[in-house]
Symmetry: C2
Subunit: 307 residues, 2 copies
């Protein structure tokens, strides 16, 4: 029986101020799922290749859970065997579980006739991720499947829109070796926000939306600023302030937390500058005794796909 | 000396959820300013033609104040005489004072060599409006001068972006004969907003931005919803709930308050439906003993211009 190979990209949830609304897929970083049909309606994870040990239990794995949701929507007793190659750090705020979920949904749908819409696959992946993360949010699953920047207007019923891309955008990702749990990060959030902060984040989020819709880096360069969530969540990332300051000094047009962290990302439209920013961010974490991984990347406009 | 005639359109501040951020220029409704150079550095309002008596005192008139700001930016002792034809109701939430300010700024700049940028004219008009309204906000002056939908990211320093237009959009405007003072309407606003309301308004505002950037009515049709300001300000408009309900029943895809009201606007992409919606809204106000004025219009993509 035919074997397929699916790639799903890493994603930056929120894109700074757009909490629970915006998301962005990035290139050259993501999960690969090898999959084949299995008879007898079984959903099996053959292996998970990852830098840390991960469970092959299909009830705890987002790729398997997403595949099961796809079969439910297709109203079939489908079977699938998957091998996961985790290409991105887990618990890093880069949408690791969402990438697996997206790849699992895509693979299951593809192997059984590709009958579902992109929106239905996003729903299948988002429901799978909710089992693991405890919250129903599409700000990673939507960009992972659609590519580019996406906007989640509403989760129930799911309403997602692909906004577009910015071709000249260079993204520096730096993941310090510290643990931030999404669930804990979410609990810290304020219940209410001051009117002027609401207006500031809304304006910046709207301008980021315009920037991606118009493929205009100059708009994006001046609005990566979050006055609501970052002041709270940055406290969970040791060295955040210094790293941000040094990234800006090195020429970044903006720095923010990816999803619930601890990955930080910086933006520029110049590759050489991106390398300098990356170096400065890593060095700053180093100087505080914190190891980190880093990448310079761009927008993944395609989203989850066969490779 | 050459006489010029400038038209500046009416504007919908906020476009529903985008409080203090979004604004939209609409067609066939606005102020006309006739202007000519005056020697001796005098700024004079020759006459104001309006349905209600308005002061010709240049210290109280936004067109004169905006012209004075233009001369200040140009660093000249300019003189101008203007005659205003107020083509839109005053205190209606349709940006009446902003239209006059925009026309005044445009006229003064044009008569003295058109040296200022659009952004500088917006600043001149916004500062003029601030004298009269007591608040520095560009959500009417920016669309009045730029046309289409605009996004104010920041007022000080001023950062405005023209987003775009939606060609198929039909806008129903209904202005009931009640008085709402912007200053009072602003005082009623909450100091803090619940996190989930912030996310909802931000998401809707971002999707409206995407809709105008992409010229996509279908996106706009599903996000004209304000859960923060409308619940408070609608209380100042007697009959608001019934009028909104009947507009939606008649086929409107969304209904909201224009600026601080009392004008309400409804959206559709069908002209015949727009006429039906208009009729139902006016009838509903009528049934409550409230007279109203109404228009069916579209986006003014040009903004303030010579005619």
């Amino acid at each position: 029986m035919k074997q397929i190979k699916v790639f799903s990209p890493a994603t930056i949830g929120n894109i700074g101020p757009g909490f629970d609304v915006l998301g962005l897929a990035v290139k050259n970083l993501g999960d690969i799922v090898e999959a084949r049909r299995l008879s007898g309606g079984k959903i099996r994870i053959a292996a998970v290749h990852s830098s840390v040990p991960l469970s092959c239990d299909p009830r705890k794995n987002t790729a398997a859970l997403a595949a099961a949701n796809v079969f439910k929507y297709l109203n079939i007793k489908g079977g699938i065997e998957m091998t996961l190659h985790k290409g991105l750090p887990i618990g890093s705020g880069l949408g690791s579980s969402a990438a697996s979920a997206a790849a699992g949904a895509f693979a299951a749908n593809y192997l059984y006739g590709a009958q579902l819409s992109l929106e239905q696959m996003i729903l299948a992946a988002t429901e799978a991720e909710a089992v693991v993360s405890g919250g129903f949010f599409a700000d990673n699953t939507a960009p992972a499947l659609m590519g580019g920047a996406t906007l989640t207007r509403c989760c129930v019923p799911l309403d997602v829109t692909r906004i577009g891309s910015i071709r000249s955008l260079k993204i520096v990702l730096v993941t310090p070796n510290v643990v931030v749990l999404t669930r804990e990060a979410r609990k810290m959030l304020p219940k209410k926000v001051p009117m002027e902060h609401f207006i500031a984040n809304m304006a910046n989020t709207a301008l980021i939306t315009a920037a991606f819709a118009k493929n205009d880096y100059s708009l994006f360069s001046r609005c990566l600023n979050d006055v609501i969530v970052e002041p709270v969540r940055s406290k969970l990332i040791p060295g955040f302030d210094e790293v941000k300051r040094n990234a800006l000094k090195a020429g970044a047009d903006g720095v923010a937390i990816s999803g619930s962290g601890p990955t930080m990302f910086a933006i520029t439209d110049n590759l050489q500058k991106a390398r300098t920013i990356e170096k400065q961010m890593v060095l700053t974490f180093n100087s505080l005794g914190i190891a980190s991984k880093s990448w310079v990347t761009t927008v993944d406009s395609q989203g989850t796909r066969l490779i």
